[in-house]
């Protein structure tokens, strides 16, 4: 297990112990924190990024957090999943944009009580891992087992 995976696993264990509304809130907060990246990537990629789906998903997740028991329309979750981008990956910011959508989908899934939110912990931190790796080493991919020292340096960066 790599140093980053260790960190993710520790957080995931704590997230797994949260009640569903708290998990939904956590991942919705993550989606909102990454939203600037989503918008920037969509603009750079020339992609109409379905802000309507994103905003509707955020509203539904927030309603479920603020009023536990509020139903989440499964078609909305399906729309978020279908809208989550798979490319173009070569436009700067793709990972942050994709992770933003994944966090929103996880928030909706948690709000529905479907479980499994902790498995998305990686996506909360992946954009920062990549950005820090690029700043320190000029490359985003230092996460392989052969590059554990580099990954440890990234994790130690303030």
């Amino acid at each position: 297990m790599s140093p980053f995976e260790d960190v993710v696993d520790g957080l995931a264990e704590r997230i797994d112990g949260l009640p569903a509304p708290a998990q939904a809130a956590l991942f919705l907060a993550g989606a909102r924190a990454l939203d600037a990246g989503r918008r920037a990537w969509a603009s750079a990629a020339g992609r109409g990024d379905r802000d309507d789906v994103f905003d509707a998903g955020c509203s539904a997740a927030e309603a479920a957090v603020r009023r536990p028991g509020t139903a989440v329309d499964p078609t909305l979750l399906a729309a978020v999943d279908a809208t989550t981008p798979h490319g173009p990956t070569d436009v700067d910011g793709f990972t942050a944009a994709q992770d933003c959508w994944i966090c929103l989908g996880t928030a909706l899934t948690a709000a529905r009580g479907d479980g499994g939110a902790a498995g998305s912990t990686w996506y909360l931190l992946e954009p920062l891992l990549q950005a820090t790796s690029e700043r320190l080493f000029g490359a985003t991919d230092v996460g392989s087992q052969d590059e554990e020292a580099g990954e440890a340096a990234v994790l130690a960066d303030p």
Partner: protein
């Protein structure tokens, strides 16, 4: 990176205590995950 990891840990604490409050404090609790 340290700040981002600490942000997620802090957000977990906030969400555990007050899920709705976690949404009201996104920049404070999770802002550091966006580079």
């Amino acid at each position: 990176m340290v700040a981002g990891i600490e942000a997620v840990a802090r957000a977990v604490d906030v969400a555990a205590q007050d899920p709705a409050g976690a949404l009201d404090r996104v920049p404070e609790t999770m802002g550091a995950i966006w580079p």
